[in-house]
């Protein structure tokens, strides 16, 4: 039975990798990976006939993500409890939830004209992805021990 759980978690890690990859590709396809493209996406771009995003429009996009981020991070972080890396769990939890919060809510500040939050959006997304990859690495390492 323990072996079955190990397999399930290993496959879950593979799915997580695909999820992170698809989110990065989706970000690139929909928004773009530069500060300019992020600003154009949220604040609108008259040259390319792109309308500015509204408060309600952003909320509609982030609503399912708030739940999904919370659930996904809870699942992978709770696996860390069963590994020898559990002393890092406090910092990993704090960092991942803070980064997710910044990533999700920075668009609200961008549409208010705070362009600096475009940097926060981009940096928090990629830092969160790297952090999640690190957690997945720790879990994968623990499965084989």
């Amino acid at each position: 039975m323990i072996q079955a759980y190990k397999y399930s978690i290993l496959y879950f890690l593979l799915f997580s990798l695909l999820l992170l990859l698809s989110s990065a590709l989706l970000f690139d396809a929909k928004i773009g990976l530069s500060i300019e493209s992020i600003l154009h996406y949220y604040q609108g771009d008259a040259k390319h006939f792109v309308a500015a995003k509204s408060f309600g429009g952003i909320l509609k996009i982030i609503l399912p993500h708030i739940f999904a981020f919370g659930l996904f991070m809870m699942v992978i972080l709770h696996f860390v409890v069963f590994t020898k890396y559990k002393q890092q769990l406090h910092y990993l939890t704090l960092a991942s939830f803070t980064l997710a919060l910044l990533e999700l809510f920075s668009p609200f500040f961008i549409i208010q004209g705070f362009e600096f939050f475009a940097y926060i959006k981009l940096v928090s997304l990629f830092t969160l992805e790297i952090l999640l990859l690190y957690i997945l690495y720790l879990l994968q390492k623990s499965i084989y021990l």
């Binding site: 072996q3 399930s8 496959y11 879950f12 799915f15 695909l18 698809s22 999904a68």
Partner: protein
């Protein structure tokens, strides 16, 4: 997942109905997913070709890169959560069955293959479309079996 800690889940008054409910809803999800896929994205070769690459004769536009990535992203999330929960329940209820590991490996590998095959079909070569269809049906069938076997195993000794 508290059910992984209970000694005899089949005789636990509180957890047994909850697991039954979860399995029933998983069954409903899998069946509904067939119908939703059939009516929106497509399940068979021609319908899928129309969705992915469009059809000039029928004035069907191909799906955009963004829409496909959105579809894949959502599917990955639902699959991983559903299959992790289902395989944990299945492993708990059918730990003595020889085919337990085979079914878990089959469902997980075919589900991962579904995602990869669809992405490669769209971005690289349409030749992988049949691989997508086969893996889609394989993971759904294997998951349905796992739900039914788990339900059977949970309720066989109806002492609760």
């Amino acid at each position: 997942m508290r059910f992984t800690l209970i000694k005899d889940i089949k005789r636990d008054n509180t957890m047994k109905p909850i697991i039954n409910g979860l399995l029933l809803f998983t069954l409903l999800y899998l069946v509904s997913d067939f119908f939703v896929s059939y009516h929106s994205f497509g399940l068979f070769s021609q319908q899928l070709k129309n969705t992915l690459f469009g059809n000039m004769e029928e004035f069907i536009e191909p799906i955009s890169k963004g829409a496909l990535l959105e579809y894949l992203h959502t599917q990955i999330f639902f699959m991983m959560m559903l299959l992790l929960t289902l395989s944990a329940i299945f492993a708990r209820l059918c730990s003595k069955k020889r085919y337990m590991l085979t079914l878990i490996n089959t469902v997980m590998l075919s589900a991962i293959l579904t995602i990869i095959a669809l992405a490669f079909t769209y971005f690289l070569t349409p030749l992988l479309l049949n691989l997508y269809i086969i893996s889609y049906f394989t993971w759904h069938t294997a998951a349905l079996f796992m739900v039914l076997i788990s339900l059977w195993s949970l309720n066989r000794d109806s002492s609760v």
